[in-house]
Point group: C2
Chain length 215, copies 2
Amino acid sequence: VTNGAIASDVWEVMSTCRAIRRFRADPVPTEILHRCLEAATWAASGGNQQPWKFVVISGPEARAAMAVGARKALESIEVVYKMTRPAADDDSPRARNNRAVYALHDQGRDVPAAVLFCVRDLPSTPELLAGGSVYPSMQNFMLAARAQGLGAVATGWQTAGEPEIRAAMGIPDEYHLMGLVIVGWPEGHFGPLRRKPIEQCTVVDHWDRPLVREG
Amino acid sequence: VTNGAIASDVWEVMSTCRAIRRFRADPVPTEILHRCLEAATWAASGGNQQPWKFVVISGPEARAAMAVGARKALESIEVVYKMTRPAADDDSPRARNNRAVYALHDQGRDVPAAVLFCVRDLPSTPELLAGGSVYPSMQNFMLAARAQGLGAVATGWQTAGEPEIRAAMGIPDEYHLMGLVIVGWPEGHFGPLRRKPIEQCTVVDHWDRPLVREG
């Protein structure tokens, strides 16, 4: 596995597509971003209605609104995850992870590239299921970024800064703001995924019957 | 592009991963299903909490509950999409698509394999965003299925048959039912995707500025 490099094998791409929060300053070429967007459109959606809308965040007004979301999101994260800025000499895994979270949010408006994922409100779809017609496209976007050697992370900045973002980007009320993905060339490498094995999150037929793998 | 066959190129997999609703009777080997589940766990989730739970639907009680969902979902679909069973001699694209929808729902409990995707309710996550921590994993599952030559389709059967499914599978109240994926060896080939180009679903900085591609 060649972390951080271009990859085309679907298993390698999926299994090394981890959140990247530190980016080099180099810009993301337009045609590379467009390939990510095209991959996003390949996802399925309810009744193939393709109710998604993607906002590429590029200019100063849109970036300023995004930065408001970043600042407010960081305040929430500090509360929810009881997180504080790690001491400079703390090299624990948690400190390194937290340092990357602060680095991302401090960068705010100056991230290399960003795309806001929206979805149209559909009367026949309960709010809980609205994401079913946009998060698969966001995942395709992340995988296409990884395949091209880009790092990406999905944030909640669009919710933290919703009023400012709606106003600056002119987003109509009938669209929900679902995710804001930051993308850029990774500083460092992709690193390993940390995930529980399928036995811990899969049951067969009933909640009381965890999956057992032979061999 | 070798539709219907095994594929490992991520671009081929993503761009040919369309909804499959007609399956051969052959069973889905356990190890192939497990690879799909493992790919599902590679997805990101908020704070890497991995709040997903997958229910493999296999035995008669679980399948009977699923079939209730299939029957009720079909009733909803007929209303929402004003769909009726196509005449036997109607070979229009719409008739062929609708015929596949009926074939899927009529199969009900006898589909080759099925997995229910659930997500734990998290107090810090609004209901609208709950899917952000499970639909990316469902998309990875679909792509891993496609890569192995399996066809799959995400249904809303879990919502249509929610009381019966919760009861039969013992699903706790703090878990949301988010999607029910049917999977099996495709009858026929994968066929082309029908999607709008990115210019029709992407704006730059503001809703009034559609993406323009040079060249």
